[in-house]
């Protein structure tokens, strides 16, 4: 069969989501943010929620998330997204309100806002991108940076005696009575992308249904910060990140999932 017979609108099985703006993303090649943006745009489109969604963008690489997904957005101060989202949702209870935050934003400077929004059981979805590094400022140590991991501020590797331990914030959030759904996903393969998409969709459905806070952590890469190619970053992530941050549901329907091991 000739290519021009195949490439025909009737045969199209995958296309750029309509809610993803035409702007070329500012992210580095291979960045996980792009994939997560794409699946969020797909979900909002599939759920017919464009008119009913308010996104809260963080400070960090995803500060410009509002340039890409075609819904109303507010750009929060560093770490404060869950506070904004709490008020937005309470004042506009019919809206889907979600935050999009990186590890520095959510688990360092915004720890208090994150934990208290989740503990109040705010009816919001928190999308948390954990790539274990500060990407935007040039690859400094994040709260989630692994022990031994080299960053601009841990040039000889993270030492717990100097820098403390990597913070597993999703496990902490799962312990809170206000969270309904806490899950850890990845987006480095087609299969994991599909799972992550289901997880984010579920988080959005939970928020709209008023079930409390849902948190979807996406373990991602930062090839520029990690100083590896995108493919090598994915492999490094599988080898090192998943040990500290294993994929899977931590809590569902308000129940903590026991460790499978």
């Amino acid at each position: 069969m000739e290519l021009n017979q195949i490439i025909n609108p009737a045969n199209r099985v995958y296309a750029r989501p309509a809610l993803l703006d035409d702007n070329t993303m500012h992210y580095c090649p291979g960045c996980s943010h792009g994939v997560v943006h794409k699946i969020i745009a797909e979900i909002i489109e599939e759920m017919g929620l464009q008119e009913n969604t308010i996104g809260v963008a963080p400070v960090g690489c995803a500060v410009f998330a509002y340039n890409y997904i075609d819904v109303d957005w507010v750009e929060a101060a560093h770490g404060r997204a869950p506070a904004l989202a709490s008020a937005i949702q309470r004042l506009n209870p019919e809206k889907l309100v979600f935050t999009y935050q990186g590890d520095g934003d959510l688990a360092a400077i915004g720890t208090a806002e994150t934990i208290h929004a989740a503990n109040r059981g705010e009816n919001i979805a928190i999308i948390f991108i954990n790539n274990a590094i500060y990407g935007m400022t040039g690859g400094q140590m994040a709260p989630t940076t692994l022990e031994g991991q080299k960053t601009a501020t841990t040039p000889y590797g993270r030492r717990v005696d100097l820098n403390g331990y990597p913070l597993n914030i999703s496990n902490l959030l799962a312990q809170l009575d206000g969270t309904h759904y806490v899950t850890r996903q990845a987006v480095h393969t087609a299969a994991t992308v599909r799972k992550a998409k289901s997880a984010i969709k579920k988080a959005f459905q939970n928020a709209l249904a008023g079930k409390g806070t849902s948190v979807v952590e996406v373990v991602g890469t930062c090839s520029s910060g990690w100083k590896m190619t995108p493919d090598a970053s994915n492999k490094w992530m599988e080898q090192h990140m998943f040990e500290k941050y294993p994929l899977g549901d931590l809590k569902d329907a308000g129940e903590i999932i026991p460790k499978s091991k």
């Binding site: 464009q50 509002y66 109303d72 957005w73 507010v74 404060r80 004042l91 506009n92 809206k95 208090a112």
Partner: protein, 367 residues
């Protein structure tokens, strides 16, 4: 007349006035001497009547960012705190100003610096009127000197904030917050409907519909040329506010040989001092700025034309005096009288300052 007259604290009046104005949301964190604002709102349960949201946040940082989020959706939202808490809010206030969002912030000032004291002070004048946070911005700053004004300035503050799309602040102090007085509460208004917000606030996050581009509320702009234009727009707004919104009250300005400039609770004390001085044969007038920003420079300049001296009385080490000096261009001697650390002076001390600074003699009425 069916005036709704009550006896209450200034802080309570803020809370009642907020519900009556149709405020959509209050977000706050307890701190003395203003905790009655949140306490009163929780007791009033306005979510059962007007639908107003009231939430005790985990910190002042969170409170102001809740205000930021709520304001972005076009809602009338407010917070209140006292000096150390307002320091924590400065980042969020800067974001509100930069994102051109209306909101109301109440600061019931206490003495500082640091944790300072829970007693009254006016030592956040610089912080309130000169920006407070980072960047070139101003807040509209209203200084109430009575419980009635605490109630009235909630509505005025929101009206101005929405008119100019900029945050407004009620800069009260522990005296006005804690004292009880008669107050006439405003009539109950309805909160704005979603449709009214859509039409009155086309910039608000109301959900992206097919008839408009998506709305984005952000203070970020990396293109320096655009960022400068944004700043120029902010400054034009400030010029407009300076031209239209200066408010002050004058007492015995017509024949004043000496002038007192004082705001808030200090102005009440000074009014008594003016009356005492006049009984003792000295014609003192009082000018009370109601808007601390925009500041009544011209009014003070005019009121001081025939004055031999101006006493700026404040519960601080001398802050508003800088603006008064700018107003009179060194044409009139300007002196300061202030108490700090939570001390509230009496009228006799104010008159004593006239004797100390200007050599004014008062007829002794005690004999």
């Amino acid at each position: 007349m069916n005036e709704d007259i009550r006896l209450m604290k200034g802080n309570e009046a803020i809370a009642h006035a907020a519900v009556r104005y149709g405020v959509d949301g209050y977000f706050g964190y307890p701190i003395t001497p203003q905790s009655e604002v949140l306490e009163t709102l929780e007791a009033l349960m306005p979510w059962e009547t007007t639908g107003m949201v009231v939430l005790q946040a985990e910190s002042e940082i969170s409170s102001i960012n809740m205000v930021y989020g709520g304001a972005a959706t076009g809602k009338a939202v407010m917070t209140s705190s006292s000096s150390p808490g307002v320091s924590l809010m400065q980042e969020g206030i800067s974001y509100l100003a930069a994102s051109e969002l209306p909101a109301l912030i109440v600061n019931v000032m206490r003495g500082g610096p640091g944790l300072g004291t829970i007693h009254p002070s006016q030592s956040d004048y610089f912080q309130a009127t000169k920006g407070g946070g980072h960047g070139d911005y101003h807040l509209i700053v209203l200084a109430p000197s009575s419980v009635q004004e605490m109630a009235d300035f909630v509505g005025l503050g929101f009206d101005l904030a929405f008119k100019y799309r900029t945050p407004a602040m009620i800069l009260a102090d522990g005296v006005v917050g804690q004292m009880m007085e008669k107050v006439v509460l405003p009539e109950q208004r309805q909160r704005r409907t979603a449709e009214e917000i859509r039409t009155q606030c086309p910039w608000a996050l109301t959900g992206k519909t097919a008839d408009r581009k998506r709305n984005v509320v952000t203070s970020l702009e990396l293109d320096s040329a655009i960022m400068e234009k944004n700043n120029e727009r902010f400054q034009r707004t400030y010029k407009e506010i300076e031209a239209n919104e200066v408010r002050y009250q004058g007492y015995h300005l017509d024949d004043a040989e000496y002038l007192i400039v004082a705001f808030g609770s200090m102005a009440r004390i000074c009014l008594k001092a003016v009356e005492e001085a006049r009984k003792a044969g000295v014609k003192i007038g009082l000018l009370r700025p109601i808007t601390l920003w925009p500041f009544p420079y011209e009014a003070i300049c005019k009121a001081s034309e025939n004055a031999k001296g101006i006493l700026v009385a404040e519960l601080n080490a001398g802050q508003m005096i800088e603006d008064v000096r700018l107003a009179v261009h060194d044409n009139v001697p300007v002196e300061h009288f202030g108490r700090m650390g939570g001390i509230v002076p009496n009228p006799a001390e104010v008159l004593g300052a006239f004797t100390d600074k200007f050599g004014v003699k008062f007829n002794d009425q005690t004999n």
